[in-house]
Symmetry: C2
Subunit: 336 residues, 2 copies
């Protein structure tokens, strides 16, 4: 299966490592032979129709900071050009999420779909801003559009709600969808101030370069958009979310909650309205997870409320979700 | 789809209620038209090849304590005879679990498979004692064998591990798989004695008629057998489980655990060995759920540890899992 990989950060690098370490098993068990024919990052690109070497890609990136130095002559082919010129079956989009215009991911995804390529995106920007139209474009071009890694990292939250609960009607859901703010709020619960807790999270590398994505609830809101569209069949985008971040949560709020055996958590919920806001949750509620964990509780008509908890991010975890999507595409194609 | 229903207790009654209330939606969305052609309980049976009336079945059971009085003349056809004489596509086995010889469920399932019927079982007995051979028998007779409701009630734990985590390798798992003992241990955590907590659970109807199934860990062990076979590909039965119940847990043990910020939980785990025993768990571990809740944590190679929490029992919840199995069978048959 020929793959173009957009972006070669932590997730992209872990993905090719996964391809490398599991190549035999993937072929034997699933008939999947991933062949990466093109990779690009913000500084350059590497192309080989017969398949790039996984180890060499990671090494080149480590050594030079770009895959552009993979071959002897530096390759400066832009992502846009690669998507026009190189033939592939699947585009994997892993560039950074951007909630202003969703670029460059949006252009990558649209170009690929128009050329008949299946798309896997772990970039939430395009989905947050244009989920309904991207789904239409995929249908129109008869390609598959997969995005398991956008919600829950390696924890298959979307799949659980869509597939494991098939035949069941989900009536509402609520969850902690951003690990960084959960880490900050958890630390504030032990008496640490907001500023100290933020600093600690930054030191640990948990906070996005644009801290607003975490602190103002944008990341959680983007995931809520994806869940609302995919699970509840709504047609919504980011502006439809009523969103408040954690910047105004005070030590006082946390103390007050503790007196009532509650914790303050940044909750994204879908229950008539779509809302992201700090809320008081009983401390023995399964949703009340600590640290960087994510959790989501789906309430269904007949099987009660079910909670899934897992790491919501991480390079290898997110790479594993891309692999799942790829196996689905492989299976669908084989079934044609 | 023609169905024979073995057992007409809480689960069976909820199932026909579900068929009744969702008949339009099931047909429109999934093309499923469930036709129950035979039902039997321990005292009698009802048969109608053109389909029994759902409302009348429930009413008859309520009024006379058996479906045998469904028609004007009491029907005494035994379950065994029904399975020999009546034609159907699917057998749904809901009689009580029994871990001595798994009867009468075992005979029902074997007879149905031999006659080419697909089987859905929420009865854990036959699976606990003979999972590997039942699976072989199903394969040999080319029928589907489904048992979603045996673990987690309406919470699709087996499906999550098998399907949502496809492409991933689960290396170990541990869980609270019995709600009754969790309820008792949770109450003991608030200072209530074992005897009082047991009495309370009995008053609430949480404890099995044969209390040993809960208290000695047999129910949890049976679920562990099912998970080990289905998820980990092991070929084991009940005698392979190292099983200790909660009868010897003392107030002292609980106090000692509390000092270390831990709770005592009855944990079923698969990690080289298959064990059910009371264990000390940190109180902020996602697995530490209270009351009658069930929880299970799967540790995978690449996507970390993921925990699912939900009600592990309940008539309607378990009925909803049977419906899921039925939709799977419907889909498979349609795809033929």
């Amino acid at each position: 299966m020929r793959i173009i990989l957009c972006g070669f950060g932590v997730v992209g690098q872990n993905l090719v490592k996964l391809f490398d370490s599991r190549s035999e098993d993937l072929y034997a068990k699933y008939g999947l032979k991933p062949r990466v024919v093109g990779v690009f990052d913000s500084k350059g690109s590497a192309v080989d129709q017969s398949g790039l070497d996984f180890g060499k890609l990671v090494e080149t990136k480590k050594k030079f900071g770009t895959v552009g130095r993979y071959a002897d002559t530096q390759n400066q082919m832009s992502g846009k050009d690669m998507l026009k010129e190189i033939k592939a079956d699947v585009l994997i989009e892993t560039t950074a999420s951007n909630y202003k215009d969703a670029e460059p991911g949006m252009t990558h995804i649209i170009s690929a779909m128009k050329r008949g390529m299946h798309v896997i995106s772990v970039n939430k920007g395009p989905l947050a801003l244009a989920f309904p139209s991207l789904l239409e474009l995929a249908t129109y071009n008869q390609v598959m559009f997969k995005f398991s890694g956008t919600v829950g990292g390696g924890t298959p939250i979307l799949d659980y709600a869509k597939n494991s609960l098939r035949g069941e009607r989900i009536t509402s859901f609520a969850g902690i969808l951003n690990g960084t703010t959960n880490y900050i709020l958890t630390n504030m619960g032990t008496g640490v101030s907001y500023d100290e807790a933020l600093k600690d999270a930054q030191d640990k590398g948990y906070v996005e370069a644009d801290e607003s994505l975490d602190l103002d609830g944008l990341d959680a809101a983007a995931k809520l958009v994806i869940l609302a569209n995919w699970i509840m069949g709504m047609k919504v985008t980011l502006p439809d979310i009523n969103c408040t971040g954690i910047r105004k949560v005070t030590a006082e709020d946390i103390k007050k909650a503790a007196k009532e055996n509650c914790l303050i958590k940044l909750i994204a919920s879908c229950n008539k309205e779509l809302t992201v806001s700090p809320r008081q949750i009983p401390d023995d509620d399964p949703l009340c997870v600590n640290g960087t964990l994510n959790a989501i509780a789906f309430t269904s008509e007949h099987s009660g409320t079910q909670t899934i908890i897992g790491k919501g991010a991480g390079g290898m975890e997110t790479a594993s979700s891309i692999l799942r999507d790829l196996l689905d595409i492989r299976e669908e194609i084989a079934g044609d």
